[in-house]
Subunit: 419 residues, 2 copies
């Protein structure tokens, strides 16, 4: 089966937003063994959208549109797909009910014209529920061609593809008796080792064709993407697993997770496995570490509380950091970071305290203590008394990036500490 | 002039990378006043690339290709553009010299075949120097059509467009006696009003062609992007400012900022202007609100501290939320949200306390208190005693999105409170 993505939105043509939808959908189609030869982007213009759809339907079996399902006059995708396929739009009362209910629940104004437009569906189409917004997706088939219509916002499109379009396309393949070819991918995620060192360790594997191994760098992490293609899911999976095992053999101590796993999840696993509870004391990160930890479902089992001690007064009152310590060493110092970690642990009654203090900038830096200077400290109870550590880092980048790097590194330190 | 971007690379079709090149080039073309109606993505395949180029040249005056200029056999863009335009490839000794010199300086192996391939240029083409890699870009013209060939890696493409392609396209416009046109854009950012209501208020303005007004929705915000095109930057700016003033007249109370301003910055401005200090008490958001507030430089002036009270014990110990209140109403209730806001304000000695409690899911929901239920409370000192408010919301989406929506909405509430 040949698939083609058509993204709809003048904002894409003007470069106002990055086309993350195309990547997300393309990756899912590849996983489903659907080949893709072209992608198109077209603006909110009925004639040009119709031309793009005709071109796509002439050369592909499945066309996936992204965007243009909203309530405004700019949103033309349903109308234009209907026109090109010769399928009428009909009112779906169940969809209308759901939209009205959602809007009411959110306390939003219910504009009957907007609801009526979003409740129009292509006759005979399968409805793809929208878990995060009002406009449902649609999957419509005619004359051996299939068109999937998806909403543009990634928060709506991504769960819809994962939970509804993917399974529907698998069913379609089975119903049409097509032998699919399967792509399987696994991402091995590493931390505490730079990309050159990772690449050095697996240089010979990177030259493999199937499975292929591709390195990718993100903030504080190196990922190895292992991909294989085979006539069955099981064979593709076996190829990938063999390669992953080879990577693991060489780099195991640095692998914190796979695929969509985050370093916060890896920390959560180790905290839970060791029955350890955690309290945070954050200064420069302002709550970002707590936010990352609590992205993980069930984090309340091990994350007890966090102190966002932005002022010196807060450091003293809440964590018992001595005023003398603050004036002698300054708020950004090893001594204060350790006192913060200790204070958080003791005040919360947890087994571990993790603290960060630093200078996020753009102001507040000096020669001795430049912008980007961060101390990360851990304080824990060992069997024979408290055990502590502190690390000094200087991160580069702008304020937001320094906060991100500091938060990420603190989780890497925590994960390593719990090894 | 009509421009079209053609991105070349199988990795884009497989969804292995995000197409940031398309966005970057599109934004620059828009700034140069070059209209765009379509974008295409095609794999490393000569026949299909030729088809995409023919389609683009048939409907556009300028085609910008991204990718496929490298030294490997997969890199086919120059060869295919030459074939489609009927322009031969010729060896450029200066380009060959520069590539050899660069490789030697980096200590890379010099493969003569790779150098020879990259030193082939389209006859008569203008060479666009590559500040960050080996393959130069090219700009070639024939029969009134122009094709710009750019390398795929963003680190090479972006400076090349900024420093060489942009100026070359301005010269081209001048040489062809086209009045160069300038694009100016301003984004008006609104909150507290849904997209349909915003659109209702400016429906007549949305039909304007120059300046154009386009709505765009993000989590909790509606943006109106006002864009004008004119023969000079000053005229374009004046057109935009006129339209922005018309939007302001109708929607002023809901406008929190412009362009890259965030709701956290808007809160910061009002907090600073009113000399108000803030303490946070976060439960489900785990520190996200503090993180957002401290993304703003100088936020330590008004943000004193935050309490991430994930456990009930933390709510009681740190904020003085009564155990009776917790057991009677539950941690996710109006009563507890208000007690948290009050406790944060009193403990920190700030003028305001902002609190959030809710159920982020996926577990922990019930019929009476579903996943996504969030209470946001503000407690403040008024001249005649404390003044408080609490709002109930039910947000949809997955855990991460519920946290984001709750955090964002709490900042909107804070911003409105400070009006």
């Amino acid at each position: 089966m040949i698939g083609e993505i058509v993204c709809v939105g003048t904002e894409l043509l003007l470069g106002q937003i990055t086309n993350t939808d195309a990547r997300f959908v393309a990756e899912r189609l590849a996983e489903l063994g659907i080949d893709a030869y072209f992608q198109q982007v077209v603006g909110d213009n009925r004639e040009r959208l119709a031309a793009a759809l005709r071109l796509a339907l002439g050369r592909s079996d499945l066309v996936v549109t992204c965007g243009g399902l909203g309530p405004t006059e700019d949103d033309l995708t349903k109308e234009t797909v209907g026109e090109v396929l010769g399928v009428p739009l009909v009112h779906d009362p169940a969809v209308a009910d759901r939209i009205t209910c959602l809007l009411e629940r959110h306390g939003s104004q219910v504009l009957s014209r907007a609801v009526a437009k979003q409740a129009l569906v292509l006759e005979g189409a399968r409805i793809l529920p929208n878990a995060a917004g009002t406009a449902p997706g649609l999957l419509v088939s005619k004359g051996g061609k299939h068109v999937a219509l998806l909403p543009g916002p990634p928060a709506e499109l991504e769960p819809m593809v994962r939970d509804h379009l993917g399974p529907a396309l698998r069913e379609l393949a089975a119903a049409e008796g097509r032998a699919a070819s399967f792509l399987h991918t696994r991402v091995v995620k590493l931390c505490g080792l730079g990309e050159p060192a990772v690449e050095e360790a697996v240089r010979d594997l990177i030259h493999s064709a199937n499975p292929s191994v591709a390195p990718l760098v993100t903030v504080g992490e190196t990922h190895l993407r292992v991909t294989a293609k085979a006539p069955s899911q099981a064979e593709a999976r076996a190829l990938v697993e063999g390669m992953v095992a080879a990577v693991e053999e060489r780099l195991r101590p640095h692998i914190f997770g796979y695929d969509s796993e985050t370093i916060a999840e890896a920390c959560g696993k180790r905290l839970r496995a060791r029955g350890v509870t955690l309290a945070l004391a954050e200064s420069l990160t302002g709550g970002l570490v707590g936010h990352l930890l609590t992205e993980v479902p069930g984090s309340s089992e091990y994350f007890e509380r966090g102190f966002v001690v932005y002022s010196n007064q807060a450091k003293t009152q809440l964590l018992g950091v001595g005023q003398e310590l603050l004036s002698r060493y300054g708020a950004v110092s090893e001594e204060v970071a350790l006192a913060m970690a200790r204070g958080a642990r003791q005040s919360a009654g947890t087994s571990l305290g993790l603290a960060l203090t630093g200078i996020a900038g753009p102001d507040g830096g000096s020669e001795a203590k430049p912008v980007g200077l961060v101390y990360i400290a851990i304080s824990g109870e060992a069997p024979l008394g408290p055990t502590e550590a502190c690390w000094r880092h200087v991160f580069s980048g702008e304020r937001g990036l320094i906060k991100q790097r500091a938060a990420h590194r603190s989780l890497v330190r925590l994960w390593e500490w719990l090894a």
